[in-house]
């Protein structure tokens, strides 16, 4: 998958090797109380490393095979043709027609190479899909964590609010009580006033009557 030109060794600096995957360390999120599950990450790293190793092996086998076929081809060409390798052909009638057998051998080699490439691509796609799924999962976890962290102060706020509410209710109750107390006080005051007025009237009458009674009596 790196360099399709046959026989070129892989570029070690750009390549993700199993070792680099294993030795990779992830930072922790500063906000999270619950960070990544380290065991899960390690397991995932191990799987990626294993698959990378497998991929590298498949690639090496492919490269060796193609190299082999290439050498055989050059050999065959030297033996069967006087058209030197690398020089443009004019396509004139002098060209040797290869035998059906030779054509079939080369076809099989090409098919094998294609199969190796398809397999490697399949590996990559699978790896990418799994990594993607894993990332989605981490993201979902992080989101859940964030929501939980948001939920905590919200709960506290609600609690604080609920204390107020209780106070308010209490206050309301006391207020109502106080209001009814005042109202009853007012009622009593009104009754007292009426009673006092009545009393005053009676006194007033009493104060006047004795004179008349005395006059009459």
């Amino acid at each position: 998958m790196t360099d399709p030109s046959v026989g070129t060794p892989p570029q070690p600096t750009h390549r993700l090797t199993p070792e680099r995957v294993r030795s990779m360390r992830f930072g922790r999120t500063p906000i999270g109380r619950r960070g990544l599950n380290e065991e899960e990450v390690a397991q995932f790293q191990e799987r990626v490393a294993a698959e990378l190793a497998e991929r590298d092996a498949a690639e090496a086998a492919l490269r060796a095979k193609v190299e082999h076929y290439k050498r055989s081809l050059i050999q065959w060409q030297r033996e069967h043709s006087n058209d030197p390798y690398g020089e443009p052909a004019t396509g004139g009638p002098a060209v040797v027609q290869p035998t059906v057998e030779a054509v079939n051998i080369l076809s099989r080699a090409q098919q094998e190479a294609d199969a190796y490439i398809a397999q490697t691509q399949q590996y990559c796609r699978q790896l990418a899909d799994e990594a993607h799924a894993h990332a989605e999962q981490l993201l979902a976890e992080a989101r859940a964590q964030a929501e939980q962290m948001l939920a905590e102060p919200m709960r506290l706020a609600k609690e604080a609010a609920s204390v107020d509410v209780a106070d308010l209710a209490d206050l309301e109750r006391r207020l109502t009580w106080a209001r009814s107390f005042i109202a009853s006080l007012e009622a009593v005051e009104a009754q007292l006033r009426t009673a006092r007025e009545a009393l005053a009237y009676e006194f007033d009458r009493a104060a006047r009557v004795p004179a008349a009674d005395r006059r009459a009596g």
Binding site: V6, Q77, D83, Y85, P88, A89, V96, N104
Partner: protein, 372 residues
């Protein structure tokens, strides 16, 4: 030329499937080993293309005019592969040897007719290649910036070493140095800057041969090879109808270039861009697009997300859903670009909404189509 006999013979040969191109290429490379180096290591894709092209040519062999534009484009494309006139006889010989091998009955007349048909096709391709002679067969372009965005997308800035004249909406074939001989189409997303450079928006297709290398491994200073710009489907007509542009993911690229052109020309054509992704993370170029739309009053952007609730100015739903929900577009010229599935689904919705077929322009970012 007995065209009926040619077609019958082709049907018989083509029935052998993948064996046919396999035999063809092996014959070609054994007889002319130096040609092998012009092709990629893996040949699975190329085999399908050759059979498809041959099939198309043969089915039109008595009316080649119908395929002339395709053949001309193919002829111009072959300059990029390094193909020259001298290579054609070798391919013709291998083709005849292959046909002979798979035919139950091979006669000198049949051989002569095939040779004549191949020659006519080759002449059309060669004439087109010659006519393009003033244009370089390919350009080198230096990557001057790599901006990796969320969701596996890279925005590359590429500076061609010589002027590369493209129209907004056209695409160029790109070859990455680490993936020799694997050409893929990408669409310049800006007008050329004063030094000729332009943006490419590349989405990583998992397991793909080229896009992962472009997105993950490209570095500033890398030199890409670029083919001649092609494509007419998304290039604006010179009509006056207002425009509805519907993009999915990196399908934004041609429309960003087109809208830049409208802004640059102070065009009076109004353009509504509905740009969709699954989530907001997929809308990788939102800031630049907002900025562009503020620069010219005739541009309007509606970002859309299908898998997240709407928020702020980001609408909920696929781009076509949102567009059809908001207005009647039957008097607009409609352009659609994105993945093959997105383009297919969007086209069906547009036609069902009564938009005339000839007002709908499509480009799918698949890898089967050439950009013709």
């Amino acid at each position: 030329m007995d065209t009926e006999r040619l077609k019958r013979n082709w049907a018989e040969v083509a029935a052998h499937g993948d064996q046919v191109p396999l035999f063809f290429y092996s014959t070609l490379f054994l007889a002319h080993p130096h040609l092998r180096d012009m092709f990629p290591l893996g040949m699975a894709n190329q085999r399908d293309k050759l059979l498809a092209a041959l099939g198309q040519v043969v089915s039109h062999v008595d009316d080649l005019d119908a395929v002339v534009p395709v053949l001309q484009q193919l002829g111009r494309d072959h300059r990029r592969f390094g193909v020259v006139r001298d290579h054609y006889p070798a391919v013709g010989q291998a083709l005849l040897a292959t046909l002979e091998h798979f035919s139950s009955e091979w006669t000198p007349e049949l051989a002569r007719d095939w040779a004549a048909a191949y020659d006519r096709v080759a002449q059309v391709m060669l004439a087109a290649a010659d006519a393009a002679g003033e244009m370089p067969p390919w350009w080198h372009g230096t990557v001057t910036a790599v901006d990796r965005r969320a969701a596996g997308i890279a925005v590359l800035t590429v500076r061609p070493h010589a002027p590369l004249p493209y129209l907004p909406g056209q695409s160029v074939a790109v070859e990455v140095p680490t993936r020799p001989r694997l050409w893929r189409w990408y669409t310049p997303a800006t007008l050329p800057a004063s030094d000729g450079s332009f943006e490419l928006h590349v989405r990583l297709v998992p397991g793909g041969q080229v896009s992962p290398a472009l997105v993950m491994a490209t570095q500033v200073g890398d030199v890409l090879r670029l083919g001649a710009p092609v494509g007419t489907d998304l290039v604006l007509d010179d009509g006056t109808r207002d425009l509805l542009l519907i993009a999915g993911g990196t399908g934004l690229a041609p429309f960003k270039a087109i809208m830049s052109q409208l802004a640059h020309q102070r065009s009076t054509r109004f353009a509504h861009l509905y740009w969709g992704g699954r989530t907001q993370r997929d809308l990788y170029d939102l800031a630049a697009m907002r900025h562009l739309c503020e620069s010219h009053s005739g541009l309007r952007l509606v970002p859309c997300v299908s898998d997240e609730p709407p928020s702020g100015d980001v609408a909920g739903g696929t781009a076509v859903d949102v567009a059809l929900r908001e207005a009647d577009w039957r008097d607009h010229e409609v352009y659609v670009c994105g993945s093959p599935e997105m383009v297919r689904a969007t086209r069906d919705r547009l036609l069902a909404a009564g938009i005339p077929r000839d007002q709908v322009h499509l480009e799918a970012f698949g890898n089967q189509e050439t950009a013709t």
